[in-house]
């Protein structure tokens, strides 16, 4: 009996340190660091979309974000400035953390002065023609997946995420590397049913802004056909005190210039 107890004791001691990681707490803090820095934030962003033939497209926009609650509901406005045919187009999202409630989305088309309510739709479709999905930009709710720790390096934890609802997504599972130091997800590899890694999202450049670890450059790659999109952020600031009324239909037609420049 005592030998058996000792054996269990030894087994516990010899387990790799991964078992000590509280995965639940890790993904919650990772989600907060990745999508909820400060109470609000603004950033200029631009994307270069490169297709498999090497043809390039550019998108430039400014994002304003306001959290209703950390790891909870968020408000977002995206003001496009380039290219010419999307200039002054504005995208508005009321994100609901409850995955049973669809996000509310609107698009303002300046040439028609039209505010178009957009039906919820698949969040894993291209964000304005890029290789990023809407969900990459607004954040995939961590409650959508089951996480388990599969590996660990000196810098990162590597988690395997399996969707709770496999029918709703194109991937079978993904591996996410979370920086031990910053808790930012730095690389996500998506695998299909055949176990092929067909898509990668990675943080290429990270810096500390107002004390918040912040991704300045990220890249998403289509590993099958070779297309990719680069996204770069500039003029980032947090805790601006963005008022609630910035995130409204008013701002679609009359952009709140005070917060955009």
């Amino acid at each position: 009996m005592s030998r058996f107890t000792l054996f269990i004791f030894a087994l516990v001691l010899s387990l790799p340190s991964v078992a000590e990681v509280d995965v639940e707490a890790l993904i919650i803090s990772s989600e907060k660091v990745a999508y909820y820095s400060g109470q609000d934030g603004r950033s200029d962003a631009r994307m270069m979309i490169v297709d498999a033939q090497g043809r390039k497209q550019m998108r430039q926009f400014t994002i304003l974000r306001r959290d209703i609650k950390d790891n909870g509901d968020q408000q977002m406005m995206v003001f496009f400035s380039r290219p010419t045919d999307v200039k002054d187009t504005v995208f508005r999202v009321e994100k609901h953390a409850d995955i049973t409630v669809d996000d509310d989305r609107w698009l303002y088309l300046p040439a028609l002065d039209l505010v178009k309510r957009i039906s919820a739709g698949d969040k894993r479709t291209s964000f304005v023609g890029s290789h990023f999905f809407y969900e990459d930009v607004s954040g995939r709710a961590i409650s959508e997946d089951d996480f388990e720790l599969v590996d660990e390096t000196s810098e990162n934890y590597i988690l395997k995420a399996t969707p709770k609802s496999a029918d709703s997504v194109e991937f079978s599972y993904y591996h996410v590397s979370i920086s031990k130091q910053s808790k930012l997800p730095v690389k996500i590899d998506f695998f299909n049913q055949e176990g092929v890694n067909y898509r990668r999202v990675e943080a290429v450049k990270i810096d500390n802004i107002q004390g918040f670890p912040t991704v300045l450059r990220s890249k998403v790659s289509d590993l099958v056909n070779g297309g990719y999109t680069l996204m770069e952020f500039r003029n980032i600031s947090y805790d601006l005190g963005l008022p609630d009324d910035v995130f409204s239909e008013r701002s679609l037609r009359t952009p709140p210039r005070q917060w955009l420049n």
Binding site: D44, R46, M48, I49, V50, D51, R55, K56, Q57, M58, Q60, S81, R82, P83, T84, D85, K87, E94, D102, D104, A111, L112, D113, L114, V115, R117, I118, S119, A120, G121, D122, R124, T125, S126, V128, G129, S130, H131, R217, G227, L230, E232, R234, D245, S248, E249, R250, R253, T254, R257, N261
Partner: protein, 436 residues
């Protein structure tokens, strides 16, 4: 507005402007995406595009010579000046219309827009937009109930980009934003008619002649309305739903009334309505109602003036599979005092039904990383047994250019019904657009 410039000089101007505005582009490494536009604002340049569009009708139209339905060489110039609390925007099209062999200037926007904070404390809740502008509200797709702002049906039928479905007006729009809801109040001092089908490009059915005619007419003073148009909207979000109430005081937007001498004119019209949009099931549901009070014929007994109508719309939209959005709309136009209309009608065989019902179906499919968009929109009237099918493909694999092609097909049984009167307007078109 018509100017006497030759098409050659327009083309030369376009090429000159484009070459002036072209910037050299170099790429060193993959993260070098060129200048951020904020850095370019020091030297404000204009932006815009050149567009060449060609369209022909499928069959000849006995009422109109020639097969051409669309021949545009177009330069759009956009210019914006940001002031401290406001902005000045100009969007103007100069184009050669090869169907009419005319050079035209279409100022789509020339407006000052700003918040009124700077004027007074009460101003913080108000925005004002003054000048030539495009205005839109309401919930329908291609069906307008409470939106009485001018439309350009000639462009819609010819296959110009959807941006041209709305025509600009010289208006003042005051918007107020409050806890109890938001208000828009629009005054258009000089009546802005639709760009209605007048025979310039497409013929239309005339009940008096019993056949299609193409007079190419414009209504001129003294038959133009002399009072301003007023439009009002109240709207509010309640949870994820949006409700709105509308009012309009003005005139029928096309000259659908005739004086006793047979002169077409725009008779008085008031419109009252409401709408709601809400998420439902996996998509969006919408409903809209409008009451059209035809003030010059409130009893319905004037045969040359439209009767009062109630208009209803119910619609549903959903993404059915990834990148494919489908929508359906059911629309009813109910003519009031129908027995009076029948009693007084001069051309009873061509009278519309008491209830005109239109069902629309739309599919929008985005393919190839959203560089290709296929849009199919069908209007079908179950009461008139006629319809209008719009099919369009847009392809733009780079930022610099877009190509588009499509058909507009009118079909039906009778030659006088709403859509089928345009059967000979059915056309095929293509366009190329280059952004400079």
């Amino acid at each position: 507005m018509k100017k006497s410039l030759s098409p050659i000089s327009v083309l030369a101007m376009i090429l000159l402007l484009v070459s002036l505005n072209t910037r050299a582009q170099t790429t060193e490494d993959e993260w070098d995406m060129g200048d951020w536009s904020e850095e370019e604002e020091a030297s404000p340049l204009f932006a815009g595009f050149v567009d060449i569009s060609v369209g022909n009708r499928f069959t000849s139209d006995p009422a109109i010579d020639g097969a051409k339905t669309l021949r545009d060489i177009r330069l759009q110039v956009q210019w914006e000046k940001l002031l401290s609390e406001s902005s000045l925007t100009v969007t103007s099209d100069l184009y050669y219309d090869g169907v009419l062999d005319q050079v035209k200037l279409n100022v789509r926007e020339f407006a000052w827009q700003g918040r009124l904070d700077s004027i007074a404390q009460w101003g913080k809740n108000f925005d004002l937009k003054l000048g030539q502008q495009v205005l839109t509200w309401g919930t329908g797709d291609y069906l307008f109930l409470n939106d009485l702002f001018p439309k350009d049906y000639q462009s819609f039928f010819a296959g110009r980009n959807d941006d041209y479905l709305k025509a600009p007006s010289l208006s003042a729009k005051l918007s107020g934003f409050f806890d109890w809801g938001n208000m828009d109040f629009v005054i258009t001092p000089e009546f802005a008619a639709d760009n209605y089908i007048n025979g310039d490009y497409f013929s239309f059915f005339s009940a008096s002649f019993g056949t299609n005619i193409a007079p190419g007419f414009d209504v001129k003073s003294p038959y133009l309305p002399e009072s301003p148009e007023y439009a009002l909207r109240y709207y509010k979000s309640i949870g994820s739903s949006e409700i709105a109430i509308y009012g309009y005081d003005g005139f029928h937007k096309s000259p659908s009334s005739l004086t006793s001498e047979g002169q077409a004119y725009f008779s008085k019209l008031n419109v009252y309505g409401a709408s709601v949009v809400s998420p439902a099931f996996a998509g969006l549901i919408k409903a809209e109602f409008a009451y059209y009070a035809s003030k010059d014929d409130s009893q319905g007994s004037e045969p040359l003036i439209p009767n009062d109508q109630s208009r209803y719309l119910v619609g549903y939209e959903q993404e059915v599979i990834k990148d494919l959005t489908a929508s359906i709309q059911w629309y009813l136009e109910h003519t009031h005092d129908y027995s009076e209309l029948k009693l007084n009608s001069l051309t009873p065989e061509y009278d519309p039904n008491r209830s005109r019902i239109v069902v629309t179906q739309q599919f929008i499919y985005r393919l190839m990383q959203q560089t290709l968009t296929i849009n199919a929109f069908n209007f079908y009237s179950t009461s008139d047994h006629d319809g209008f099918l719009k099919l369009r493909a847009d392809y733009s694999p780079v930022d610099q250019w877009q190509v588009a092609a499509g058909i507009n097909l009118f079909y039906g049984d009778d030659n006088h019904t709403f859509y089928n009167q345009f059967e000979d307007a059915s056309n095929l078109y293509a366009s190329f657009k280059y952004f400079y």
